[in-house]
């Protein structure tokens, strides 16, 4: 029992070191556990897959660098899927610090498919106002974004000739880290303008999205890094991409980390209850 009471007093820095090493190891030496796609990711994939070529997919980049490991792989995978299906991609964002991430995606991904900025992809940028931005886009996108993020007037961009308002867009995917996020798109874009919506969210808010999935308000959900990995696997399995899959590569570490947390909880509880009973 002395051992258990010593175990309870272990320095937290030792836990940090053990945690760090167990997360790093599978990144360097992959365990090869593999990733299978779940029903929610498959539903979103099928919904994007069913959009006719030439139509526009709206992607809302509502996250910042703090959620980048979870959400950027989703953004990249959805964009690759859209380009492989010859869809036009329209990006916008409600988070100011996410502007650089959307810019990075627009710079890196379209050239893989020979897509041109202005003809196949447009990034509208960020605008203050959250609900006002969504509501304004519902009436007329040009009222909200007279120019794109880089200062080009929307009239000069070939892709935007057929897209005047949200009703011209068959589907949107809101990739969000919290508020503002997919709930704002649901409240304003879907309820008022009928935009079909899928969502990619951080794992923290994934459990909260299930009521919207059940009612059909959300067509598919990508939850955290696992959701990103599932979508990456679907995109690659269907032959739409051969790019490096960062979320899939991280899944071995994720698995090991979860097992470690589980063991820590169990050992901590056993040690606590054992020492408490004996009054040590």
């Amino acid at each position: 029992m002395k051992f258990l009471s010593h175990l309870l007093k272990i320095d937290r820095r030792i836990i940090y070191i053990v945690m760090g090493l167990l997360v790093i190891f599978p990144l360097v030496k992959p365990l090869g556990l593999g990733v299978t796609s779940g029903p929610r990711a498959t539903r979103l994939f099928d919904a994007v897959d069913s959009i006719p070529p030439g139509k526009t997919l709206l992607i809302a980049v509502d996250f910042d660098p703090s959620s980048m490991p979870e959400l950027y792989p989703m953004l990249a995978a959805v964009m690759r899927h859209a380009f492989a299906k010859d869809l036009k991609v329209l990006l916008c964002g409600l988070w100011v610090t996410g502007a650089g991430l959307a810019d990075k995606a627009v710079t890196e991904i379209p050239p893989e498919y020979g897509k041109k900025y202005g003809d196949d992809v447009v990034y509208l940028g960020w605008k203050a106002g959250i609900d006002a931005v969504i509501l304004g886009m519902g009436e007329n996108i040009r009222n909200v974004f007279p120019t794109d993020y880089y200062g080009h007037p929307l009239e000069s961009l070939a892709m935007m000739r057929d897209v005047q308002r949200l009703r011209d867009i068959p589907m949107g995917v809101a990739i969000s880290a919290g508020t503002p996020g997919y709930t704002d798109w649901l409240n304003f874009a879907q309820s008022r303008y009928g935009l079909k919506l899928g969502a990619g969210v951080t794992a923290v808010s994934a459990a909260d999205a299930y009521p919207y999935l059940q009612t059909g308000q959300l067509t598919g959900l990508l939850a955290g890094m696992k959701g990103g990995a599932e979508y990456e696997v679907l995109v690659q399995k269907n032959g739409y991409s051969k790019a490096y899959m960062p979320a899939v590569a991280a899944m071995d570490s994720q698995s090991l980390a979860h097992v470690v947390i589980l063991l820590l909880v169990i050992v901590g509880n056993v040690a606590y209850f054992a020492t408490r009973k004996r009054g040590t």
Binding site: V23, P69, V96, A128, D131, Y149, V204, Q214, A249, A250
Partner: protein, 217 residues
């Protein structure tokens, strides 16, 4: 292993370790990085706010676009939000700080008015529709069972938050059932939260191992 020779990557790595150093103990290096982060974030937001919002929506149409592009009427209308926006600055002038109430009233009133019907539709009506038991659930025994369980769960969880009456008798039973559902819900959220936090750490390690040390491709 192929260590990066880019100075910018090294700056990113140093700043990363600066933040991580807090894990050992609070230290001047961490405090420096923390304050640098706050300052850089705010400076970045200020410049993006100018280029994406204030300049294209207000200053350009009001001052820099000719009357052939923006009519006089529209220019005059833009003075209203300009004045309201400038009222925010009055927060720092004690004698005039009451003027802040005007833009706040405008934003609060607009937000409340727009949100009420939207929330009604999305979070109340559609969610209630999803809760009700419809004929479709009788297609399979398990669909029926889980729909019934969800229905009971929603009702009991809502009743748990009903504090206008003492939880006695049937209300107590419903409330305790609601607690079971709520605990499972919070447990699921906790499980997902663990996943989220670990993902962020894995992402940082991927940067260090791939972009800095070149140990993973």
């Amino acid at each position: 292993m192929h260590i990066s020779t880019s100075i910018l990557t090294w700056i990113a790595v140093i700043l990363t370790f600066g933040i991580f150093s807090f894990l050992w103990k609070d230290n001047p290096f961490y405090k420096f990085c923390e304050h640098l982060y706050v300052g850089i974030s705010l400076g970045y937001v200020i410049s993006l706010n100018w280029y994406n919002s204030v300049y294209p929506d207000l200053f350009r149409p009001l001052f820099f676009q000719p009357l052939s592009q923006v009519s006089l009427g529209n220019k005059l209308l833009l003075i209203v939000p300009l004045v309201l926006g400038l009222c925010y600055f009055c927060r720092f002038i004690p004698q005039a700080s009451w003027l802040v109430r005007f833009p706040m009233a405008f934003v609060l009133g607009w937000g409340a008015g727009v949100t009420i019907p939207a929330v009604f539709q999305t979070s109340l009506i559609r969610q209630m529709q999803g809760t009700f038991l419809t004929p479709g659930i009788f297609a399979r025994w398990d669909v029926f069972l889980w729909a019934l369980l969800s229905f009971v769960g929603v009702i009991c969880s809502v009743l748990y938050f009903f504090f206008s009456r003492e939880h006695k008798g049937a209300l107590k039973l419903a409330s305790e059932t609601g607690i079971v559902f709520l605990m499972v819900g919070f447990g699921a959220s906790f499980g997902y939260t663990v996943m989220a936090r670990m993902s962020l750490l894995i992402g940082r390690f991927q940067f260090l191992l791939r972009d800095w040390l070149g140990m993973i491709r």
